[in-house]
């Protein structure tokens, strides 16, 4: 790994460790290997959002050319958010793409991602299905996001109605995640979800 990248990551790792956000439990950072090329981040779902109470794990890959190119980050924890792919976890955030600046650090990036959870950008979506729901049926979006937070990120709010619908599909032999995706996509209408799953 290029000297400059390793040097920066080491320093940034320390910066995150010393930060008040880590002390407050808002963010976390861990090394995955010894070469400083791969890290694992964690952000806490911000309060007053459907993600509150959840912990979201991120995969962080540091390119050879860091900090001249941004780190590659995706959500490992499944999340229902207009700017994050519900399938791959890919993130649509300008600072991770063309708005990257060399002075940004892992800490600022993690905080930006946390901010993205508070303020979605439905007009610049990564996941069109989620963005459509966010715009057309905010109430349902909110509940779906909370449900996903509960199931995948350890959030507190269990939504009985949704769980029952997923269970119905499970009983039909459908994979649990597939069932949840189908139901979320079709605004929790069991019939349409079933139709899509078995078509």
């Amino acid at each position: 790994m290029a000297n400059i990248a390793a040097k920066r990551i080491k320093r940034e790792f320390k910066e995150v460790m010393k930060s008040e956000e880590v002390a407050g439990g808002a963010i976390k950072l861990e090394l995955v290997n010894d070469s400083w090329t791969e890290l694992q981040g964690e952000i806490a779902g911000p309060s007053d959002t459907p993600y509150e109470g959840g912990t979201f794990v991120l995969e962080i890959k540091v390119p050879e050319t860091y900090p001249f190119n941004p780190p590659k980050i995706r959500f490992v924890t499944k999340i229902w958010h207009p700017n994050v792919s519900s399938v791959t976890g890919a993130i649509c955030l300008d600072i991770l793409k063309d708005q990257w600046a060399a002075a940004l650090t892992l800490r600022t990036v993690l905080l930006s991602l946390q901010a993205l959870l508070s303020a979605a950008e439905p007009n610049d979506p990564q996941d069109a299905v989620v963005a459509k729901q966010y715009k057309e049926n905010p109430q349902l979006f909110h509940m779906t996001a909370r449900h996903w937070t509960n199931v995948y990120a350890g959030g507190p709010a269990s939504i009985v109605e949704f769980n029952q619908k997923v269970q119905r599909l499970l009983d039909m032999g459908v994979d649990e995640h597939d069932a949840r995706v189908a139901l979320s996509t079709y605004d929790w209408e069991l019939e349409r979800a079933t139709e899509q799953l078995f078509s």
């Binding site: 040097k7 940034e12 060399a102």
Partner: protein, 316 residues
């Protein structure tokens, strides 16, 4: 790229850190409007990818970058750092501005050039000294020199060919000029000039001679024996053909100038001999006193195109 922050004694102020490499600023430059400072190497690399300030994304181009203010440079130069060679045992602690001069002479530099003491005389980096093998190194050197030698020889042969070609052309041109000089006064002047230049060039190629015994001068040499030998030697030394016959004539006192023409005048003018600029006739006990070398000598001691003096001995 900046200096590793761990190398510095005490805390380094955040303002002296490059936001790109997170090291201590090295040869820093700043953006014009926002005045954010970066290492020259870091910011140049960044701007080649994206023409913005890496901190606040204001538009910046490479030519807008400015040196940082003196105060910042001073603060940097006062920082105390360990030597680059501290892993190799150097314990020096230096002000940042004297680091460069220290590195040049740091004894712990593993790449410091050292002369081999085993006899080959090569200068090699210190860390390669242990692995160093004089024979192998010299052998490699010989191989490379031989390669060069072959190249040069080939080039030389080619150049010779070209020179011969030029000589032939030149000879043709001279012939041409000689043929023309009769009818054209400009051509005559040119040809005369060329002939004079030729003599000067030839004179310049001959070694200086010193006459230790002017008394050994043979003023009436034997035409066949002595003069023909001199002629051959002159011709081999590159004497221009148009003066060689005149020079041969001037071997004998009958053609010598008034100041030399008899034993009596020669004895009177003996002190003037030391003024002559003499040139060696290669391999012979004889000197050339050419007119072009001796413009400072009185007229009664000189003739065109010059004198040839043959001696019994005493030429150095």
């Amino acid at each position: 790229m900046g200096f590793e922050i761990k190398r510095f004694q005490g805390d380094v102020d955040e303002e002296l850190i490059c936001p790109i490499c997170s090291g201590v600023l090295e040869d820093p430059l700043q953006a014009p409007a926002c005045e954010h400072a970066f290492c020259r190497v870091c910011i140049t690399e960044w701007i080649s990818r994206q023409p913005t300030c890496p901190v606040d994304r204001q538009a910046v181009t490479a030519c807008q970058l400015r040196p940082v203010p003196r105060i910042l440079r001073n603060l940097l130069s006062r920082l105390c750092t360990s030597c680059d060679n501290s892993p190799h045992g150097c314990n020096a602690v230096l002000k940042l501005d004297s680091l460069a001069s220290h590195l040049v002479e740091c004894e712990f530099n593993p790449k410091r050039p050292m002369p081999c003491e085993a006899g080959c005389g090569l200068v090699i980096p210190k860390d390669e000294l242990a692995e160093h093998n004089c024979v192998r190194e010299l052998r490699a050197l010989i191989t490379s020199q031989q390669g060069k030698l072959t190249d040069y020889q080939q080039e030389l042969a080619e150049q010779r060919l070209v020179i011969n070609e030029h000589k032939r052309e030149l000879a043709l041109l001279k012939e041409f000029m000689r043929a023309m000089r009769v009818s054209n006064p400009t051509m005559r002047a040119l040809a005369d000039q060329m002939e004079r230049d030729e003599v000067v060039r030839w004179a310049g190629s001959l070694a200086r001679a010193r006459v230790t015994r002017w008394g050994g001068m043979i003023s009436t040499p034997d035409d066949v024996l002595q003069v023909m030998m001199i002629k051959r030697s002159l011709s081999e030394s590159g004497c221009p053909p148009h003066i060689i016959d005149d020079l041969m004539e001037n071997c004998h006192e009958r053609r010598w100038p008034p100041g030399l023409s008899s034993l009596e005048t020669r004895q009177n003018n003996r002190r003037l001999y030391e003024k002559y600029v003499c040139k060696r006739v290669p391999g012979k006990q004889a000197v050339l006193v050419l007119q072009c070398d001796n413009t400072h000598v009185d007229e009664h001691m000189m003739v065109e195109p010059g004198l040839v003096m043959i001696f019994a001995h005493g030429i150095e």
